[in-house]
Structures are given as C-alpha cells and as structure tokens.
Symmetry: C2
Subunit: 476 residues, 2 copies
Amino acid sequence: MAKNDQQFVKEIADIESDFPQWYTDVVLKTKLVDYGPVKGTMVIRPYGYAIWENIQREMDARFKAAGVENAYFPLLIPMSFMTKEAEHVEGFAPEVAVVTHAGGEKLAEPLVVRPTSETIIGHMFGKWIESWRDLPLRQNQWCNVMRWEKTTRPFLRTSEFLWQEGHSVYASGEEAEKETLAMLRLYEEFAKNVLCMPVLTGRKTEKEKFAGAVATYGMEAMMHDGKSLQSGTTHYMGQNFAQAFGVQFTDKDGALKYGYTMSYGVSTRLIGALIMTHGDQRGLVLPPPVAPVQVVIVPIAMKKPGVLEATHALKETLENAGIRVKLDDTDNSPGWKFNEWEMKGVPLRIELGPRDIEAGKMLLFRRDICEKQEAALGDVKAVNELLAEISEKMYIKAKERMHSRIVNANSLEELLAGVNGGNFVRAGWCGERACEDKVKEFAQATARVMDDHHTAEACLCCGKKAKHTVFFARAY
Amino acid sequence: MAKNDQQFVKEIADIESDFPQWYTDVVLKTKLVDYGPVKGTMVIRPYGYAIWENIQREMDARFKAAGVENAYFPLLIPMSFMTKEAEHVEGFAPEVAVVTHAGGEKLAEPLVVRPTSETIIGHMFGKWIESWRDLPLRQNQWCNVMRWEKTTRPFLRTSEFLWQEGHSVYASGEEAEKETLAMLRLYEEFAKNVLCMPVLTGRKTEKEKFAGAVATYGMEAMMHDGKSLQSGTTHYMGQNFAQAFGVQFTDKDGALKYGYTMSYGVSTRLIGALIMTHGDQRGLVLPPPVAPVQVVIVPIAMKKPGVLEATHALKETLENAGIRVKLDDTDNSPGWKFNEWEMKGVPLRIELGPRDIEAGKMLLFRRDICEKQEAALGDVKAVNELLAEISEKMYIKAKERMHSRIVNANSLEELLAGVNGGNFVRAGWCGERACEDKVKEFAQATARVMDDHHTAEACLCCGKKAKHTVFFARAY
C-alpha cells in the first residue's frame, strides 16, 4: 500500500484483502446509495443518481440515433401473461413480487410487478401490428423492475432496480438476430467510450440464457477482484413470444405470419460495474463522461485577497465550455477537501492559490494516476484534453489488466487455479450441460460468454472434442 | 362547424357536443396512448412519451437551476409507514395497491406500491440529517406512482402514472412555506412558457388539501368544456411528517429540533391538460416547446425531379438549427398527410413543391389558426419566429378564453348557472365545510383555489360574512 493511501485506510476497507467490504464502504461513504427500509432495496442518492442520468443521456442518444423510440408500459402484469411462455414463467415466477389487493379489495387476478416486460409489450405489440408496413417496430422504456433476490448488494443485485429495456419486432428472424448483435455492439461501444470499461462479448450458453430466448448475448466486465459482472444482455426470441402473445402481421404475400422478436437491457448495475472496474484504495475513480463532477476546484489560502474571485471566474470559464464543475469553497481545510473529492472519484482537481494566480497558472491533479501537472490559468483546452486523456488511459489500463488476466485451461484443475488467481479462464467445452454443471461444482465458476475468435480442441471436463471455446469465471 | 372540419368528423367526435368522446378519439387516434391490459392502466406510446420527455427536460432544467437534486427512492413502502401520519393514511389507504407475496413466499409485512413518497422519503431524510448544516435538503424524483381509482381516463386519472415529486426539509417553517409558494410560481411559469397554458393558482381549502399537509396550493387550468383540471400542487407539511418520521436536526443552539417539510408534484396529467386546453375539431394542437415534431415537411409532387432533394436539404437546415423536424416522404397523398399531421397537432407544416423551389419559397401552415403564409425557402429565422409566435398566440388565446369564462356568483343558483354555462365561478365563502359541501351537492362543483386578489363580501351559501373568495368549478 502506498504511503499516501494510508490515511484512507481508516475509512475504507483494504481493496486487496477485503474487496466486498471495500465496495460497501465506498458506495455508502461517497453517498452514492443507501439501504432502503425494505430488505434488498436501495435508495439511489443524488451523487449516484447523477451518474445514472449521465448514463441515460448517453445511452438514450445512441438509441434515438439508431431509430428506437421511447414509450412506457404498465408496471403491473396480469399473472396469466407470465404463464403464456413456458420457459419464461419457469425462470421468473420464483422471483416476482405480487399485488393481490388494491383499492381495498382482493383482486380477481393477482398482478405481477414487472421483472421484465416481454409479456406485456408482446401483448401490446400484438394489438398494434397489422401488416408488414408496421414492421420493424422498435421501442424502448426506461423504468423500474423488480426481482425478489435472496442475496442483494447495492447496484449489483437489488429487489428493485432501474434499467432500460428495448423490444423490437421484425418480419424475419435474420433481421431480428442482426439487431440482437447490433445492440450488443452498441453496448460494447458504450462501455468503452462512456464507462471506459473493456468487456468481453459473446453468446451465452443454454444454461445461462434468458428465460424464453432462443439465444442470449452478453457483455462481461472484469471487476477488481477478477470476478465477472454481467453488464448488459441482448436476446433473440425467435417466435417464442410472438406466438405466445399473437404478434402477427399480414405479409406482402397476403399470408398471416408471426413476427420475430428481440430485446436488450442495461441497468443501474452499470454503476456497480464502473465502481469495481476503476476504483482504488482511495475510493471511486469515475470516468469523465459520466462523472457528476468532472472538475473540482479547491481554493488554496481561500481568505487571501483575490483567491475566491479567481476560483469563481475559473468555474464560470469551465462551465461555459460545458464542463461539469464544482467549486468547494466550504470552510474545510484543503487537505480534507483533497481526501473527500479523491474518495468521490472526481477525475480532475484544480488547486488555485495566490502564487498560482500571480503566475497565471493552475495545478491539475489527475485522480486516475494521482499525479499533478501545471497548466495556464483558465486554459479550457488543456482541461478538455486532460479529461479525454484520462478517459483513454482509464480504458487502456483496465483493458490491459483484463487481458493480462485471461488464462487458458485444459483441465478442471487448471481452471480452478485460474479462477482462484482472479483470472478469466478460456477453455474448450463439449457443449454438454453435465460438463458445464461440473465446472460450477468444481470451481464455482460459470460460463460467461462463448468466444467466437478462438478454437479450443478438447472439453476441459470430459476431454471430448470441443464444440465451443468458453470464458469461464466466478461471477457476481 | 367550418367546412374544412367536416372531413375530420368521421374520425373524431364533435368537440362541442361530445367532448369526452372527442378526448378519447383524439388520444387514441393520434397514438398518444392506449389502454393497458389491466383495467385503469395506460400505455404511453412513443408520440405521447415524446411529449413527456420534453416536459421532463424543461421541468428538470428548472429544478436543477433552483438547486434541487434528483434521487431515486424505492417503489415499495412498508404498510406500517403509511399509518404513521394519521391524515395521510386516511387519505391514501383506500387507494393503494398492496404486495403481499414475493419470491414465492408470503411477506411478513405487506408492502404498499407508492401512491406518493412522503413517508419513505421522510424516513430516509430522518436517517441522513444530523445538524443544521445538512439543511435545507431538497431532492426530487421522477418515477411511477399508483393510486387505485374507480373511474379512470388516459393521462387524467389512471391507476399508474408518471410524475415528479420534490421533497424538501428546512430548519424553519417560514423557509418551507416560502419554497411551497416558490414551486407554485415555478409551475405557473412552466405552464405559461412551456405548455402555453394559463392557470389559476392559490391555496386549496381544508377539504381539498393533501392528506397530511398543513396547506396545499394548486394550479388549475380551464379545459375546453369549462371544467377545471388540477395540474400541479405544492404542499406545506409543517412538522407533521418530520415528527412522524423523526426528521430531526441539531440546531446552531445545540437543541434537537424537528424540521419543516414541503413537497410538490406534476404528472403525466399535464399531457391531458394541454390536449384539453388547446385541442380543436381537427384534433391535437401541440405547443411548440413540447411538440415531438415542431415542423412537418410535406413534399408536393414528390416524384418530380429535385423535390425530394430539396425537402431533405430543408430538413437538415432546420434540424441543424435545433428544430424538431419530420419529413413525410411516404406514398400517401399530400391531402392525407395534411389531415394526419393536423390531427397530430404539429405546430407548423411546410409544403414544398416544384414551383416553390423554383421561386425560392416555402409555404407555411400554422396549426393553431389554420392559416398559410409564405417565407423564403430555408429561412430558419422565419420558422423560429413563427414557432415563437404560435406559442405566444396559443397562450393568449387560452388566457382570454379562460378570463372570459370567469363569472361572479352571489348565490347557489347563480353558481349553478355559471358552471352549467361552462364557467369558473368566483364567489364568497364563509370558510365552513358545510357550505362547501352544499355547493358540491347543489352544483357538482368544488372549490378549486382561493383567490387572494379579490374580496367577496358574503358567503354564496349561508350569506354570512365571507372569509375567502373562492374559484368554484366542475373538475376532472
């Protein structure tokens, strides 16, 4: 542990030896989130919600550019809808919260608080679509969903969370599959350019796919402890939901046909992902594109004449350039402020005192590598370039780290050693569920995604010819 | 009915003789909304949701400028929370939806789907606030809420709706009351400048106030049929919720004191408000600041050389100026397109054909007054000025209409005649609940807000000295 980090030890658990406690300390102490009164729920506090707003804005712009429209579908779904798609009900029924009473009366049919909306959106799409002219139909909603989980952690797994869920209907399976992969690419680009987070993408195994899908694709990110966090998924449904909900259209040839559907979603879990990808012993390290505060200005010798005026002027200059700026002119000491804003992960700190002002300079502290450099006072271009460089370096650092921790395995023992060492493990797999289950049992690791770019020869478990190359990892 | 309007009669019920059916026809046919599968729920379709996004963006910018921070609190509230504030539970208990089962088990304590969040936010504020330094605390959330209503109508009253709810705690009652009025002013300014909608604002009577509030203030808008729609409310809670949920702080003098709270909200009901304020026989008339499409371009003689190119170039020019533009290059006839986009309330239509292009002109059709004028082709300034003029004229027209339909009454009979004539009725009131009830019974009218600017002498009901001047109206 570096000497500078010792002062933080009092507040935040050690990131190497107790990562779970580090995570809890960081999310609570930086006021990103708090526990709600009902077990398993979270309150997203302003500092955390501002990250979510930035994620929403960036993601929503991408959806709109891709031609997807936003809508809003009801929270409560008739229980009977859930049972129309056999795999879907099997997957979600154990997790749902159920409204049985409303308006002072017992309801004739219980209503499910949406765990996801394929069913109710399928029902509405079936009502709206008449002919091939209505296709494709591509809608998205930003909303809350609920899945009653036994073990919960803020952002990572909570009974209620916020997300977006996109749903599209196409006339052909090819088009729907193409969109399923296109949205996976969109998520990957978003992870890279907005969260500065490298991911592995690929198809999920049958065991790990969405309940009711023909195929699920996922993006997986490596957390600080080497575990994987599923950070976004896209699903190709074939005609499963279209048949269950009567999503039919009259095709150009006059025949009535079922549509092909797909869906895709990311959630407030992304906030957990970026915390555990970039955080360090001092606390959060937020990517500039989503940081609620990109630059914090700390006045030095604040009472000296001209200092406060200069910091206010600097704030205005940076804000006018579209930078999110906070001026900390509270009575706390500069040292206290440094600690506070470093813990809160602000990408760039500017220190400005009488000598700097006199010299026409400002001191810039980069949170990502904890180093200082100088720039001319009020040099917006330097600040913008530095923010861009921080984003790039954060991505490269995380990517190099992830790739340095991908190992190959030819046996269960090698896989166990790999995941014990905090690695993702690439291995051959025969495609049989029995071998996948054995990996889980032997090493508490699961198949995260299948790797299309690499061909292993034999199944790490049974030794038979490999059908797929798989990234295995322990996962959140 | 004007001759031009006859073609619309087939599609939309007559606005004068059957306003309720007109409303239903308009919201369904323009695809703003649809009925959800559960009785009383609505699906907000893309054209309706885009209006909500514009409302959110405009309102949220105002909140942020005022220093309010966004957060997110859980959907499910322990039933025991509801009962901590006596008036609150009495008001909301009959309307709540209740989750009794989750994760396959019966819950130890039933959970209420939030009808509003004073209770759970009070609980969290109580946890977070320690000293006077933490005050004021001002947070807002954009979310869904649920109130199980017997009679529902899309946007106006649905079991689930979307809204924002702002909640603040202050150290003194004076500050909290000041904020209650400041937010009412913010809503009024928003109604005027964003929805082009005049409102009456003022304090609500005891009977009409929020369950648990010391005082409620509301803004009321006059709909086409002369009925009133409550379009936003702000509430001063005194210490009612602070005491119920332990919202305490250590003051500068070292004493532990309860805070003073207030809250404020507007909802998707605003969409209903603008439809029923501005709509006409042809359908929607959308205010430019919230219209999803501000300008629709309809090519004339679309197959002629150069026409499509010119319309695309015009679209790009306007979009680059920040205008929301739709180019309708479908195969439908221009006449069909005119009808469609008039029904959908697009503020400005641009018609562009070979002759216009040759002459370097474009034809502009104003939806608000259904009149045409010319401008130079691609004249962005002319378009922006016209959009601003439309906004202004829509407000003035609605305001003049509202003020021309406010009448005074000195007796129940005069009040009945007034509301029967589709008016708001200004009258004196002694302040007694019995007289307020009698007005309701006699004329099916309720006290909307109290008028501070006007002093009536006697109660219209009992004839005793008036304590307040009240606007009475039939209301949605």
